[in-house]
Every structure is written in structure tokens, then in C-alpha cells.
Amino acid sequence: MSRINSPAELEEFRKGILSKRDPNKPCITLCSGSACHASGSGDVAASLEEEIKKQGLSAEVDIRRTGCHGFCERGPIIVIHPEEICYFQIEPKDVPEIISQTIKEKKIIERLLYTDPETHEKIIHESDIPFYKHQERLVFGSNGSIDPKSIDDYLAIGGYAALAKSLSGMSAEQVLEEVKKSNLRGRGGGGFPAGRKWEGSRDAPEKIKYVIVNADEGDPGAYMDRALLEGNPHAILEGLTIGAYAIGSHEGYIYVRQEYPLAVENINIAIKQAEDYGFLGKNILGSGFDFIVKVHQGAGAFVCGESTALMTALEGRAGEPRPKYIRSNIKGLWDRPSVLNNVETWANVPLIINKGADWFTQLGTAGSKGTKIFSLVGKITNTGLVEVPMGTSLKDIIYKIGGGIPGGKKFKAVQTGGPSGGCIPEDLLNLEVGFDELTDAGSMMGSGGMIVMDEDTCMVDVARYFINFLTDESCGKCVPCREGLRQMLKILTNITEGKGKEGDIKLLEELSETAKEAALCALGKSAPNPFLSTLRYFRDEYEAHISKKQCPALSCKELISYHIDPAACQACMICLKKCPAEAIVGGKNKIHVVDQEKCTKCGTCFEACPPRFGAVKKISGEPVPSPIPEEDRIIIRKSKEK
């Protein structure tokens, strides 16, 4: 491949790619993101190739292994173009039928289609499925149509046009102005306006400047940056290069978790390709602008997502935040001006340059423009990655796109913003998502994690879980965070174990104040949020745990008991046989009783008791009823009397 030396050559080259592609030629796209890979898309891909060869269709059908489509709950997913027929949960055994029926005969295979849970209708096209229909996939949408290992695929959908436009038609100031005007805010957590950050670096006197991609995604349950890096790495490279041009940087870094092997592989391939094509390196597209990108693999510390810790780690030292009162866009990596933005933020940049800030600002709320990708997980029917315009209500995300709570359970709260985010209760479900809106509700946007919780979730335990995560992931440098979290975890654990004392809430509040006001970095300052937001909306649960020794969600093991209602028990032996602790006494036709001394509260009996009996009860905060006398436990069955 010879280098592309000008925007005109790029357009010629693009035309060449498109002319060789027939839009009507059947193309099978298969999701090969990490989630689908785990559910077997590798085997499906192998079967597809083999079957197409076997049926002699190699020349007539294309296979494209794409990045994540987002609907991870139903993976592996294939979409057959041009008809856009969408099949879910494909196994290798389905492949011969797909080729012989759908590809050859143009027949739909009903059982592989999506069934609407409400109407029970089968849906053929991706865009008609509620999960996709209610989304606005501007950044994430291309994932489904390109092979991330192919730069030609990216060029075929208009890739690097924004870079060409910036370098040839716009001055660096104009690019900066456009991004400022778009009011693009950082997608990684803080929500700081990207344009203002860039401007600070551009205006800083130091000559050498850096641009950095923060791909140290570490929130439990969040994987949108991973999916973008794996599925569309060139979009991030293009955004980064445009940013470098705007601020006058010639060197960029991608700080990516080493735990994301596919993302590391794909971004490295993309860099190599972009260098070969002349989108990176010296004199990019003949503009005279030079820019190189290096990949740095992080060693898996959550705190390295914090900007100064990330830069310390990039410098080759232990990833600890540095005490800063000078912003890193002025004095960052090696004390030089450094613009650090998250993966998704960079991926938005080509869109803004291509379509303009005026187009971008049409989407979203007054303070938050554009779209946001959320990782929708937890007690939700449609687990996956969703992209919606800012300002979409939580209710629409959870019910229209997410399909609501499975198992007929009741919604309780949604946790947003990662470990240091907060929980938002049911009466705020109409909240429109945006940076300021979520902060006002006591949570935050964070990088876009969204964990849905149902009525069985104990909010005190949720706070304990996240504080526990943070005690592990704190760097341990400053006292309010390291020691404060240590004590908060102890108190919260005590409360969930029924050892809570009067005054615990007040002490937790004081520890929270110290961390919030005096901790060194953003991780420490926001670390008390899981406690503070659950206290704000679920104080009664804390009080029930402490004063009544009761867990209202019937979740905290130390505070619940299982017992068998003698009036409902049919002495069917099911729970008795299944109990792993042999804690159920009784026999055939003899009412069962839970031996509270032996019971490990694993809940097996509760799950095993047939719903038509519903004899096993879970209780909290009240004494276990005494077992009925031995002689009253015999059941005399009517049928046997006859």
C-alpha cells in the first residue's frame, strides 16, 4: 500500500473501494466483540466459513466479523445484508440451515428471530427490534457494519474524511472553535468541556504537547470503551489526530487496560494501517502536520483512570494521583501540556467535524449535548450497550430499551457513574440523563455504567459492595481515602451483619465529609458517594438494619432466617433432600422443620419449594416461629384414608 498524500487522493481511493463493493451482494456480519466471543461467536465464524465453502458460495457471499452490536444478552448475533435479517443466539449447528435457507433460498428461519416479549410477534429487521429502535447510535452504530481489522471498511463508511477536512480546509483554531461550540463534554466521568481543555493546552507556552486516550475503563459492569476500541479503533485514532492538530501536539498515547487483549490487538493493527496509509506519521495527507501514536498497556489499577495517576503510570512510575492544583492540560505528562480524553469523547470528534457543531448541539439537553453510550447491566431483561441522546429519561432506557426487570420483580434503584456514583430510586425514573441532572440527583454520569437493581437488592449491602471495591482500588496515598474507606467498610459490614450501633450513620457521614473535602484526588473525593446516595434515598433501610436488626430486602444473610410454614408444608421431601447443610428435619408425610442451628441460609429450600405450596418463608427482624410439636407434624393424606 502506498501512502495517501492528499484529501483528493483519499477520495479517489475511497471511490475505488466502494466501486469494488456491490451493496446487493449478500454479506453476513457476525458480532465478534468480547461478549459474543465468550458465548461462542468464534465457533460460529468457523462454521460459517466452512459451510459457505461446502455449499460453493465463497464467491457470492461475504462474511464480516464485526465489533460489538450491543445486544449482548442475545449473542452471538448475525445480521444478513442487504435485507438486514437479524438472527440471535446462533450456534454452529444453525449455520448450515442459515446458508441453505436464508442465503440460498431467501427464506427466513423463524426460530432464530427475535420475539417481541409483549406482542409475541417475530421481528425480522434489526431496526424494528425495540432494543435498537429506541436508540440513537451515532458513535456506536458503525460497530455493526465494519470489520475493525480492516481500514478499508472504515474508509468505506466515510472514515478519515473528518481528518482530511480538518487538515485541508480548517485551521487548528477553527477545529478548536468547532469543538468548543459543540459543547462536547468529557465522557469519562468529570464531564469537563473538551474544547476548553484543548484550548488550555493550545495556549500553554510549552512547545511539546501530548494528547492521550483514557482507555483504562475499570467500573464494574461497564464496557462501552472496550466495545468501541475493539469494534471501531480507527474512529478513536481519527478523533485523536484531529485533537492533536487542534492543540499542536505531535505525539499521542493510548492508555489501555492490559485486560482488554482484543482492544489492544485491534488498536495496534489500526495504528499500523493508519501509518501505512499516511493518516499517521510525517506530513499527514500532505498537510505538513506530523503525528504519531503509541499504545501503553496499563497493569489493571482502577485508580489509573484518574487523570494524574494515569499520567504518572505513563511516565513509568506507580500509578498514584499526584497532588495537583495545576491542571494537567497545562502541566501533565512529563510536566507538559496534555489533553486526556476518554475513548468515547475522542470517538465523537470526527462526527462533530463532519456534521458540524450546530448539528451536534441539536441533540441533548441544555448542558449536555450529543449522545451517550451506557452499559446497561444488572437486573435487566436486555443486558447490553445502548446509545441514546442526552436527555433521554432513565425510564425509557430501562423499560423501552432495556425491556424492564426480569422475573416479574419490582424495580428498586439504578446505580450510575461507576463505583463512586450513586443510586437513583424509582420516583426519580423520569430524570433525564445528563451530566448536571445526574449530579443533582446525588449520582453522576461517570463513564456510563448503569446497574439496575430490583426489590431483592439491599441498598446497605450495595453501599458496602462499592466501598469494598474502592478500598481495594484506592491507591492508598492519602489518609481520608485509605483510612476513611477502611473504617467505612468496617461500619457498613457491621450494619449488614446485624452489628450496627446507634451513631453509625453519623460516624459514616463524618468520614464521608473528610473524604469528600480533604482527599487528594477525584477517586477519594467521590468515594463516599455509594454511601451518601443510598442514605439519601434509602435511610429507612439503614435504620431498619441498625435498630430493628432487619434487612427489608431480605438479602443480608446474617439478618434473615428461613422457616417452613407448617400449614403450607406438604412434606414432599424436595427441600429436605436438596438442603446442602442437612438442616431440614422431617420425613415423608412428616412436616419439615428448618434446624436454625444448622441452617447456612443458602436459600436452596426457598428456591426448591414448589410455588404452589410456597411453604418456605424468608423472614427478617422477627423471631422464627417455634416449630410445632413432634406429634402434630404427621400429615394424614385424604386419598390414603379412603
Binding site: K324, S474, K477, P480, E483, R486, E510
Partner: protein, 197 residues
């Protein structure tokens, strides 16, 4: 060098560009408590005991005096109800590790900190990093460092370096505010001697 005028506790104080609030206060004879600060070492900002209130454009913020740079017309309050409350909490958190450390006890008295507020923890180290940083920055030996992170973080000597460098130095010993360092050193030495046998 141009002089920057700022106000600390109502007193007009002159400082040079690049100085921290702590340095400016020290020159003016205003005392701000510290645990991890040492004049020979780079500011660390770890103990947060030097937390003070600053007023910037009408906003009141809490900042670490050992790092925060002086600025023209900056208004600093080294004591307030909130600052004292936070210092008291920091001391109580540290007293759980080193209840008998003289320096901590002295400060505890001033701020009314209760050394029994939190359950005692076995480690005596308060992670001020004085030993680690002194060895790295002044001695340039890196014989001692932090290992692990979060609540499991601790100081540890590197046996290979310590066995050759530490015997005749031990300059970090008197820096330790809680005597934890000696214990750690003795332990490593014991382990090292044991491994050689």
C-alpha cells in the same frame, strides 16, 4: 523576584512566586500542622493534615497547604470549625494505627482527637512516606518503597539493596513519626539473615 501578597488568618503575608501556602505561613510564623512534609523532600500531599480553607473568587475550598501555590490576594484560613473537624478525624484515623506515637498524641490534644474512636489496627505505619521519599530523593538508593495499594499498602525494604546500603545509613530512622520503620527494618534484616543461613 516579585513579591506576592496574600492574607493568612487575617494577616498580610508576602511570598515569592512558586511558594506553597505552607512555606508562606512558615515565614510569617503561622503554624500549620503536618505529618508527611519535610523541607528536603518534594511535597507529597498524603496526610492531608495541613488542610486549610482558601477563598478563590468568592468560593471557599479546602486545599492541602503543602502543595497549594500562593497567589495574589489569596485569602487563607488555617483554622475553622470545618478544618479542625477534618484534622481531628484524620488524627483519629491515624491513632488507630499508632496510638502511642508522641507526635500524634501531641496533635490529638490540640484538636481534641479521641485515640480510641476507631478499633486498633496492628500496623504502626501511617504511610507518611518520609522514609521512602528520603531514601529515593536524598539518598537516591530506593532501598525502601511502598508495596501493594489501598488498605493493604505498606512499606517494605528491598532486601538486595537494603543488605548493602542500609547498615551504615539508617538516616530514615529518626524521620519516622511512629517508629514503624525501625520495626519493618529489623524484620527485613531478620528475614534476610535467616535466608542466608
Amino acid at each position: 523576584m516579585s513579591e506576592i501578597l496574600l492574607q493568612i488568618d487575617g494577616q498580610e503575608v508576602g511570598a515569592r512566586e512558586g511558594m506553597t501556602i505552607l512555606e508562606a505561613a512558615q515565614i510569617a510564623g503561622i503554624s500549620i500542622p503536618t505529618l508527611c512534609h519535610h523541607e528536603k523532600l518534594e511535597p507529597f500531599g498524603g496526610c492531608r493534615l495541613c488542610t486549610v480553607e482558601v477563598e478563590v473568587r468568592g468560593w471557599t475550598n479546602l486545599v492541602a497547604a503543602c502543595i497549594y501555590p500562593v497567589a495574589k490576594n489569596l485569602v487563607v484560613r488555617t483554622r475553622s470549625e470545618k478544618v479542625d473537624r477534618i484534622r481531628k478525624m484524620i488524627l483519629e484515623l491515624l491513632l488507630a494505627h499508632a496510638p502511642d506515637a508522641f507526635e500524634l498524641q501531641k496533635l490529638a490534644k490540640e484538636y481534641g482527637a479521641d485515640k480510641n474512636r476507631f478499633e486498633k489496627e496492628a500496623s504502626f505505619c501511617i504511610h507518611c512516606g518520609l522514609c521512602v521519599r528520603y531514601c529515593a530523593e536524598v539518598k537516591k538508593k530506593n532501598a525502601i518503597g511502598f508495596v501493594d495499594r489501598g488498605i493493604r499498602k505498606e512499606i517494605s525494604f528491598v532486601p538486595e539493596i537494603a543488605s548493602t546500603e542500609c547498615w551504615n545509613c539508617k538516616e530514615c530512622f529518626p524521620l519516622c513519626p511512629t517508629e514503624a520503620l525501625q520495626a519493618a527494618f529489623v524484620l527485613t534484616r531478620a528475614l534476610f539473615v535467616a535466608s542466608e543461613k
